[in-house]
Amino acid sequence: MSRLQVVSGKGGTGKTTVAAALALALATEGKRTLLVEVEGRQGIAQLFETEALPYEERKIAVAPGGGEVYALAIDPELALLDYLQMFYKLGSAGRALKKLGAIDFATTIAPGLRDVLLTGKACEAVRRKDRSGRFAYDYVVMDAPPTGRITRFLNVNDEVAGLAKIGPIHNQAQAVMRVLKSPETAVHLVTLLEEMPVQETVDGIAELRSARLPVGRIIVNMVRPEVLDAADLELVRTVPRSTVARSLSSAGLGGARRGGRAERLVDPLLTQAEEYAERYTLEHEQRAVLTELGLPLHELPLFAEGMDLAGLYELARELREQGVS
C-alpha cells in the first residue's frame, strides 16, 4: 500500500475531511500517520477542533487501537528557510534574506519553487527514518490542492526541473518526482454524486494518467441516504392522490377530503418526491460514470448536521470497513 496518500477533489467536496478521516483510518492498530496541509487554510485545525497548527509536526488525534495522527501545516516560506538552512547553513543570513523579501520573492515568483517545497516536505516525511531504521510515519496523507490544479501541483517538479537545469532545486525536484511517480504514491479523488464534480474527476484522472502520476481511489463523499427506492418512485408517478390523502389522514394528519389538511399536504409532498426522484436518477447516472472508470470506488455518508470530530471517527471507521486501510 502506498505510503504517500494524496487527497484531491473539486472544491466543496470535503477533501480535507476525507483526508483527515483517511489519516485516522490508516493510523488504526498502532500505526502512525502524518496529515499534511499545503494551502495554509488551517482546515485541519478546524476539523480537529484545535488551535491553528504551527509549522511543526504535532500530534492531534489518537486512533482506535492506539495509533496516532500527527498534523503539519506546511508554510512554504518557512520550508524554504528550512531548506536553505539544511543546504547552506545560512543562519542569520537566512533571516536577512527574509527581511529583504527574497523568501517571499522566491516562493511566490520562482516558477514551481513553492510547489517543490510543499511536495518536497511531504516526500521528506515519507522517507524519514528513526534511529532504529524504522520509518518515522507509516503513512503520510496530504490534503492537496483541488482537482483542477492537482496535476500541475504534483508535476510542477518536472517544470522546475526543466527550468532550473542545475542546482539544488533541480536535484530536489528530481528526487521528489521519483517518489511521486512511483507506487509509493497514490492520488485519491473526492467527489460528490453530481455532474460537475464527477466530470472534474473524470478529467482529473485523465490528466493525472497522462502525467504518469499514480491514481488511487475515488471517494464519493456526502452520499445521502436512500429514503425512497425505485419501487416507491414508480408508485409516486401512478398513485391516485386521494389514496395518499387517505393514508395521510389515517396517520392522524387531518382530513382527506378536498381542502382537508391531509389532502392539502399531498401536492407538496409529491412535489418533494418528484424532486427526490430527479436527483435519484441523476445520482444513479453519475455513479455509473464513476463505476466505468474502473478504479476502487468508496462511498461515505452525508452528516446532515455538519461535520464534527465524532463524525470524523465515524468516517474513518467507514473507510476501514470498506478496506481502505
Binding site: 527574497a102 520573492f105 483542477g148 542545475i166 453530481e194 466530470q199 427506492d229 418533494q272 418526491a273
Partner: protein, 465 residues
C-alpha cells in the same frame, strides 16, 4: 413539473418580520449606470451559473452584455450552448432579443491575455524575445496570482473597449473569495517590487557611492538565489523583467488602475454563497473587506436554498406520522418489507428484505392473489409510500431549519446587506432555459426560507373526513 413550485407557494402573510433587506436584482441590471457586476464568493457556491443567469437576464431586458468567466471547467460554455469559450467574446444565440439586448460570453485564457499584453506593448522583435523567455512561459501558464491578475487585466480591457453596456465578471475559483482582490496586487508588487528592481539593476546602483553597501548585500543575495534556482533561471527573470519594464510600464501601476475601476461608480459587487456555514463565513469576510475598500456591495445571492410547500408540517410530526403508518405492518406481516414491496408471488424470496428489484406494487392486478388481497397490498404499499414521503419531508424540514439558522446568523452580523434567495434545483443547469429559470428566481424577490419558527399546527383540532 406540473405541480406548483414550492418556491412560490409561501403564504405572504407570514412574511411580517423581514430580518434582512431584499435584494432587487432587476433595477440593478436595468440601470444604465450599472456597468460592471462582479460575482464573488468561495468555490462551489454557483458563482459561474449566477453570473451567466444574470447576464442572460440583463440581455433579455435590453442590455448589451458580456459575461467574463474564469472557471476552467467550461461550465458556462455548456450552459450557453457554446461548445468552447475562448479569450474573445462570442455572441450567444437563442436568447430573446426582442428588447434589443445582446449576450456575449467569453472565458479567460490567462496565457493568451498575457501574450496579448506583450504583443500590444512591444515591437515584434522584443515581443518574440519575451514570449520565448522560459521564465515568462511558466509565469503566464499559471502562477499563484496570474489568473487573478489577468482577470483584472481582461476586465480593464473590456471596459476600455466600451462596446458593452454591462460587463458581468465571474471570479477565479479559489477557497478564499478575497484572493480575487489580493492576488493581482501581490503579483504586481512582486514583479515591480524593490527586490526585482535590485536584481535587475545592480550595475546602475553600483554607480552611486551611497549604495555600495546595499550592492554588496545584493550580490550576496543574487548569489544565493542563483545557487538555489540555478543561474540561468535568474538570468531569465532579469531579462524578462527588463524587457517588460521598458515596454509595459509597470505591473503594479496597471493592477492599481484596475483596482480603482472596481471602486468606481457603476461597479456593483454581488457576493454569492450557499446557506452553509463555511460559504457564509467567507461571504461575511468579503462583505467586511468590500466595506473597508469602499467597494460598492449590491447584496448577497444566497444560492441553493431549500423550501417546502408543506412547511407547516414540522419534521417531528411528519416522523411521528410516518412511524404511525409503518406500525401495523410489523403486527400483521411476517416477511417485513419484502412482502409489502413485492407482489404476492415473491413471498418465497424474502431472503432480501430490501429487495433492489423494482417492485410492481403499482400493478396490483397481478396473477396470484385474490382481488381483496391485492387491494390490501396496494393499500399497504401506499401507506409505505406515504411513510416514505413523510420521512422525506422530515429531512427537508430539518435541512430547511439548518439553512435558516445559518442565514439568520449572517443576517444578524450584517443586517445592512440586501439578500436574494435562490431555490435549490434538483439537477444541474445546462441550457438557456435553465439559466433563465435561475434568473427568474434571482429576481423573484421572494424568501425561500420561512422567517421564523412556525407554530405547531397540529395542536389545533380539525374536523376529519
Amino acid at each position: 413539473m406540473s405541480r406548483p413550485d414550492p418556491a412560490h407557494t409561501h403564504d405572504p402573510a407570514r412574511h411580517h418580520l423581514p430580518p434582512a433587506r431584499l435584494l432587487d436584482i432587476d433595477p440593478l441590471l436595468e440601470d444604465p449606470k450599472t456597468r460592471i457586476v462582479v460575482c464573488c464568493g468561495s468555490g462551489g457556491v454557483g458563482k459561474t451559473t449566477t453570473a451567466a443567469a444574470l447576464g442572460l437576464r440583463a440581455a433579455e431586458r435590453g442590455r448589451k452584455v458580456v459575461v467574463l468567466t474564469i472557471d476552467p471547467a467550461r461550465r458556462l460554455a455548456q450552459s450557453m450552448g457554446i461548445d468552447s469559450l475562448d479569450n474573445t467574446p462570442r455572441r450567444v444565440k437563442g436568447i430573446d432579443d426582442s428588447a434589443g439586448g445582446e449576450l456575449h460570453a467569453m472565458m479567460l485564457d490567462m496565457k493568451r491575455t498575457f501574450d496579448e499584453i506583450v504583443e500590444a506593448h512591444a515591437d515584434p522583435e522584443r515581443a518574440a524575445a519575451i514570449l520565448g523567455n522560459p521564465f515568462y512561459q511558466s509565469l503566464s501558464a499559471g502562477f499563484a496570482g496570474t489568473q487573478e491578475y489577468m482577470a483584472m487585466e481582461k476586465l480593464g480591457q473590456l471596459r476600455a473597449r466600451d462596446e458593452w453596456d454591462l460587463i458581468i465578471v465571474d471570479t477565479p475559483p479559489s477557497r478564499s473569495a478575497l484572493d480575487f482582490l489580493d492576488a493581482p496586487k501581490r503579483l504586481g508588487s512582486f514583479l515591480d517590487g524593490r527586490l526585482i528592481r535590485l536584481l535587475t539593476a545592480p550595475a546602475k546602483l553600483g554607480g552611486r557611492a551611497g549604495m555600495k553597501f546595499l550592492n554588496v548585500g545584493m550580490s550576496m543575495m543574487t548569489g544565493t538565489l542563483g545557487k538555489l534556482l540555478g543561474g540561468q533561471l535568474l538570468k531569465d527573470v532579469q531579462t524578462f523583467v527588463s524587457a517588460m519594464d521598458t515596454t509595459f510600464g509597470g505591473f503594479r501601476t496597471r493592477a492599481d488602475a484596475t483596482y480603482k475601476l472596481l471602486q468606481a461608480p457603476g461597479t456593483a459587487f454581488l457576493v454569492v454563497a450557499a446557506p452553509e456555514r463555511d460559504a457564509l463565513r467567507e461571504a461575511a469576510y468579503f462583505v467586511e473587506r468590500l466595506a473597508a475598500e469602499d467597494m460598492p456591495l449590491a447584496g448577497l445571492v444566497l444560492n441553493r436554498v431549500h423550501g417546502s410547500g408543506a412547511d407547516r408540517l414540522s419534521a417531528e410530526r411528519a416522523l411521528a406520522a410516518a412511524e404511525n403508518l409503518e406500525e401495523p405492518r410489523i403486527v400483521d406481516q411476517e416477511g417485513g418489507k419484502a412482502v409489502l414491496r413485492n407482489s404476492p408471488d415473491t413471498h418465497d424470496s424474502s431472503g432480501s428484505p430490501t429487495s433492489e428489484t423494482p417492485a410492481p406494487a403499482a400493478a396490483p392486478a397481478s396473477d396470484g392473489g385474490s382481488p381483496a388481497e391485492d387491494a390490501e397490498n396496494t393499500e399497504r404499499s401506499v401507506d409505505q409510500l406515504t411513510a416514505g414521503l413523510l420521512r422525506l419531508h422530515a429531512d427537508r424540514m430539518q435541512l430547511l431549519s439548518r439553512e435558516q439558522r445559518t442565514r439568520d446568523r449572517f443576517t444578524a452580523l450584517h443586517p445592512e446587506v440586501a439578500v436574494t434567495e435562490v431555490g435549490a434545483l434538483p439537477g444541474d443547469v445546462h441550457d438557456l432555459a435553465g439559466l433563465r429559470d435561475i434568473g427568474d428566481r434571482l429576481a423573484a424577490n421572494e424568501r425561500e426560507l420561512p422567517e421564523t419558527e412556525l407554530p405547531e399546527e397540529g395542536t389545533r383540532p380539525e374536523a376529519s373526513a
